[in-house]
């Protein structure tokens, strides 16, 4: 090919600002998180409606089971034991919605436009995953506030709270990617909604969110040990109410799951763009 035509000077900056690699990834993640915050700012009712379920779990289920004392949680009051589990659960429920959102964006033509911008698929999925983290975080603040009102003895140590932020974001990133991966397989919104409902409750019950793993039958213990939600709850419980846990394992599992999820969803994203 002969020399490319001289482009008008007005385009001269297009290559000089070709951001690459980790900077590009970081820039896209920040962009999608900002957009998520803007959407949240315009529609705060969702924050309230989505708070109903976790509040019911804490107030109705939590208070009742505290009285029955059916679940042995050592010297930790049951409501304290439950609160971190409910934070993880509400983050899970929000994250599972992201697969539906990406199919909606595809049907609305928005995904097409995003894919035509200089955004690699991994960066697009990572952006969405961390945006889910932002929304889950906003929800976690509500649950923490309600739990504090109910008298749960939570930590106010800023370093531990920072840890909570990381755990909630990584957990939401993984589950949103799980949902986007399934979206890339089933491609239809109603099918994904069915699958989403079919997997969220089992993920929740087959974890240590409501009761210790040691109470479960053997087969359920096995499932619970490969369920990233269990590690999310373990870490949250350790950080918020000081129960013993191995943070190395918790953070490694959550970080690894988030990365694996981003790669899997990015690999299937092409199916959604055709």
């Amino acid at each position: 090919m002969s020399a490319a035509p001289v482009a008008p000077s007005i385009w001269a900056d297009q290559d000089s600002r070709s951001v690459r690699g980790a900077r590009l990834l970081g820039s896209r993640v920040v962009t999608f998180c900002l957009v998520e915050l803007q959407k949240l700012k315009h529609d705060r009712t969702e924050l309230v409606t989505r708070a109903v379920q976790p509040v019911l779990w804490l107030v109705v289920f939590g208070e009742t089971f505290s009285r029955i004392r059916a679940i042995p949680t050592g010297n930790v009051p049951y409501l304290d034991y439950l609160a971190p589990g409910i934070i993880a659960q509400s983050a899970l429920f929000i994250a599972i919605f992201y697969g539906i959102q990406i199919i909606w964006e595809r049907d609305a033509g928005i995904l097409t436009k995003l894919l035509v911008t200089p955004t690699p698929r991994v960066a697009l999925v990572a952006g969405k995953a961390f945006a889910a983290g932002i929304r889950a975080l906003a929800q976690a603040v509500v649950v923490v506030a309600v739990a504090a009102l109910l008298g749960v003895a939570l930590t106010w140590n800023p370093l531990r709270l920072l840890g909570v932020v990381v755990v909630v974001v990584l957990g939401a990133a993984f589950f949103s990617c799980l949902s986007m991966t399934i979206a890339g397989i089933v491609l239809k919104r109603d099918r994904l909604m069915g699958i989403g409902q079919a997997i969220t409750m089992p993920l929740f019950f087959a974890s240590n969110a409501l009761y210790p793993i040691s109470l479960m039958p053997g087969w359920l213990q096995t499932i619970s040990r490969v369920n990233p939600l269990s590690y999310e709850v373990e870490a949250l419980r350790g950080l918020l109410i000081g129960t013993a846990t191995n943070y190395w394992i918790d953070f490694t599992v959550l970080g690894g799951a988030a990365i694996a999820g981003i790669l899997a969803a990015a690999a299937l994203l092409g199916r959604l763009s055709r």
Binding site: S2, A4, P5, A7, R17, T31, H42, K113, V116
Partner: protein, 266 residues
């Protein structure tokens, strides 16, 4: 002279269906180029190949000298794209929608606000930029999409049926922006439409596609003159496809009668 977009021997297959067949086409820098044809002609597939949404199967495409197969990111940096569907984020304001794309195109932070204001003014949405986009009319949405595509100051603007579903006033206003922007920035515009009269009035050159194949390329007046005195672009189209636009849906009866010739003018 090398071209803004150069397509050579491109074919694309969806399973058994050959959507684009051995297409070769050059779009010159700074022109408004129209890809015309009925539904199923292969226009949208061609566009989706150029904007990197579909992987190239056969043939080659270069955008300002950049090979689509190996430099997809460089191509995307030069493109602005408005898809057929009205597609904006209704949960954001008009300004936020444009700012989002300014960030996705890595417009430097120092210039972002200025650029966003500039394109919003260009599409006449400055006054309503603070409103949620979900409250916009169809024509406003389309103009907002133009602003999103223009904030990058693209070398090539790709518009897929930009005026479909809009009322005549909104259509005129969209076309006025396209021409304005083309004049101001020298942007190359590649658009698809099946409104022949619009293509005639607006495009420097047009290509007629039918059933995945290129049937004719040239300036609208050349094509009309070659067809005969008093011919419209619609007549030219009919001559090359053996039918009119509506009857020539994909695989229609008339397609059997259509000729397989391609002429190149200009």
């Amino acid at each position: 002279m090398s071209d803004a977009i150069s397509i050579s021997h491109v074919s694309y297959r969806f399973g058994d269906h050959l959507a684009v067949e051995d297409l070769s086409l050059d779009v010159h820098p700074g022109e408004i180029f129209g890809l015309l044809g009925p539904n199923g002609a292969g226009k949208t597939t061609t566009i989706r190949l150029i904007n990197t949404l579909l992987p190239l199967q056969d043939g080659e495409v270069h955008v300002y000298g950049h090979d689509l197969r190996h430099e997809a990111m460089a191509v995307r940096r030069r493109l602005g794209y408005v898809p057929q569907q009205l597609s904006i984020e209704g949960g954001l304001t008009g300004r936020e929608n444009v700012m989002w794309f300014a960030r996705l195109f890595d417009v430097p932070r120092a210039e972002r606000t200025e650029r966003v204001d500039e394109v919003l003014a260009m599409v006449d949405l400055t006054d309503v930029a603070g409103r949620l986009a979900s409250t916009y009319s169809g024509g406003m949405v389309r103009r907002l999409e133009l602003a999103q595509a223009l904030v990058n100051r693209p070398a090539v603007l790709v518009l897929d049926e930009p005026t479909v579903g809009l009322d005549p006033v909104a259509r005129d206003s969209v076309w006025a922006r396209v021409v304005d922007m083309q004049e101001r920035y020298g942007t190359t515009v590649l658009l698809t439409t099946h409104y022949m009269e619009e293509a005639d009035a607006l495009c420097d050159r047009v290509a007629l596609m039918h059933l995945g194949r290129l049937r004719a390329v040239g300036r609208p007046d050349e094509l009309k003159t070659a067809q005969g005195p008093g011919a419209s672009l619609e007549d030219v189209f009919r001559a090359f496809t053996g039918g009119n636009l509506v009857e020539n849906e994909r695989g229609g009866l008339r397609s059997v009668r259509s000729t397989r010739r391609t002429i190149h003018l200009g």
